[in-house]
């Protein structure tokens, strides 16, 4: 039985992942459910050493929506600290743990389409998650000799914890060619990445977004205030 360790946000996406992986007979542990726990990297490093998972899925905790002009330096510091700094050192600990195990493995960073295509009102979230895509590539290079793959999975605009007005939700749904945009789709993609068949797939930014990034909406952004 393969062991999955999940670090980060506790929301619908995490729940969908849990159900899907348990259905496929993976054992499953969830740590760092809160942002504070997620920043306690030394504790998480110990968890990695103790659990020695086959699969690590990291879900950075900071998600927010708001106009850049209204953002504060304190909000930027918080987002940078939670999403980039903490994730960087979780991944560094993972590098040491996975490289030392010599049994291969899978690392996935859960992300959002705003990290790949900027969206109005999501500068904090998109910028900090975008930074992680460079780290994913770097870690993929360093862990490739150990048969560990490292990828990120970007969920669609609606499959995140953002609280959106109803009209924005409707616009985003209309801009998604395959209208279904559920947590289950991202969970399925993660499951694929964790399969033996995906052993040659590394350093990539994959999307489970129903083709959202294939299109450009017309008129004003649904995120405009």
């Amino acid at each position: 039985m393969k062991k999955l360790l999940f670090l980060g946000r506790d929301d619908g996406l995490r729940k969908a992942l849990l159900e899907r992986f348990q259905a496929e007979s993976f054992s499953y542990q969830h740590h760092a459910k809160t942002a504070e726990d997620y920043k306690d990297v030394s504790a998480l490093e110990q968890t990695l050493v103790t659990e020695r998972p086959d699969i690590l899925i990291v879900y950075p905790p900071h998600q927010s929506r708001g106009q850049f002009l209204d953002s504060t330096a304190a909000e930027w510091e918080e987002a940078i600290s939670q999403n980039i700094e903490a994730t960087t050192f979780i991944l560094q600990a993972a590098l040491k743990t996975f490289a030392g195990s010599n049994s291969g493995g899978r690392i996935i960073v859960l992300s959002h389409v705003s990290a790949l295509a900027p969206m109005n009102g999501l500068s904090l979230m998109g910028t900090t998650l975008g930074a992680l895509n460079a780290l994913v590539k770097m870690l993929a290079l360093e862990l490739a000799p150990h048969n560990v793959t490292v990828n990120s999975v970007a969920v669609g605009p609606l499959a995140a914890g953002l609280e959106l007005p109803q009209d924005a939700t409707e616009r985003l749904r209309q801009d998604t060619p395959i209208h279904v945009d559920d947590f289950e789709d991202a969970a399925a993609l993660c499951l694929l990445l964790c399969s033996d068949e995906a052993r040659h797939l590394t350093g990539q930014q994959l999307r489970a977004d129903g083709g959202f990034l294939l299109t450009r909406g017309s008129g004003s952004s649904p995120y405009a205030q």
Binding site: L69, I80, F89
Partner: protein, 258 residues
């Protein structure tokens, strides 16, 4: 590309061999009045302002740490009090650290994130607010790196901060478009500026030859060439370019192999 009558601010511009000075002098040569900023090298910063005045431009040396939002806000207030307005901001201040991913330290990571990301956010936000207040549009330009597009093995966090600028610039460009403010970034490749003086892979003649061999155009970039790209993005001719990235790298970022 006449910038006469425009007022610009360039951060990280004290040192004469720096990209910041290449940009400040290019904007001044095109006619702009240019304020220069740095957190350190204050004697040199004053000398740069004097150089710009000797070119017949109004100038100002403003010390501020871009990671401190209060200092950045005061810098913009000082600039507007002295030069009347701001039309162009070039957020250039940044640092680099060379460490493998296994060896990166918390201190270096925090320094990189604070200066290269928080610093850009602080400078761009303060300048954008003033531009919105003025109601006549503006130009926001960030100096990122070729590493926005390609990764190098000993600068993982530096690369992450530069890659993040794709997302940042795009998102802010969308937000500020209704105000006719354009937001873009340029990606310098290998420039022998003070930033690279301590690079571990550029110490010997053999290192330099290896660097040259890695650039399709076979040489380092000049600070004047970075200034030329910024001058274009700051000009009226670039009024329809927003959310874009221009690599100024001799082809370094084109592909992995030559």
């Amino acid at each position: 590309m006449d910038l006469t009558g425009k007022v610009a601010l360039v951060t990280g511009a004290a040192q004469k061999r720096s990209i910041g000075w290449g940009i400040a002098s290019a904007l001044a040569l095109a006619g702009a009045d240019v304020a220069v900023n740095d957190a350190y090298h204050l004697d040199e910063l004053e000398a740069r302002a004097a150089d710009l005045k000797a070119m017949g431009r109004r100038s100002l040396a403003v010390q501020a740490d871009v990671t401190d939002d209060a200092q950045v806000v005061r810098m913009l207030e000082t600039l507007v009090e002295s030069l009347g307005r701001i039309d162009i901001v070039v957020s250039n201040a940044g640092i680099a650290r060379w460490e493998t991913f296994s060896d990166i330290t918390l201190k270096n990571t925090r320094d990189l994130l604070r200066i290269n990301m928080l610093g850009n956010a602080n400078v761009c936000r303060a300048a954008a607010k003033q531009m919105v207040k003025q109601g006549e549009g503006g130009r926001i330009i960030i100096v990122s790196s070729v590493q926005s597009d390609v990764q190098f093995p000993i600068t993982p966090v530096y690369g992450a901060t530069k890659h993040a600028m794709h997302s940042f610039v795009g998102s802010v460009a969308l937000e500020l478009a209704p105000h006719n403010i354009t937001v873009n970034h340029i990606g310098p490749g290998w420039v022998r500026s003070p930033l690279n003086d301590v690079a571990p892979d550029q110490k010997t003649e053999a290192d330099i030859d290896a660097q040259k061999a890695g650039v399709p155009l076979g040489r380092d970039g000049k600070i004047e060439e970075m200034g030329a790209a910024i001058r274009y993005l700051a000009s009226d001719e670039a009024a329809y370019t927003t959310g874009a990235f221009i690599r100024v790298d001799g082809g370094l970022g084109i592909g992995k192999y030559l």
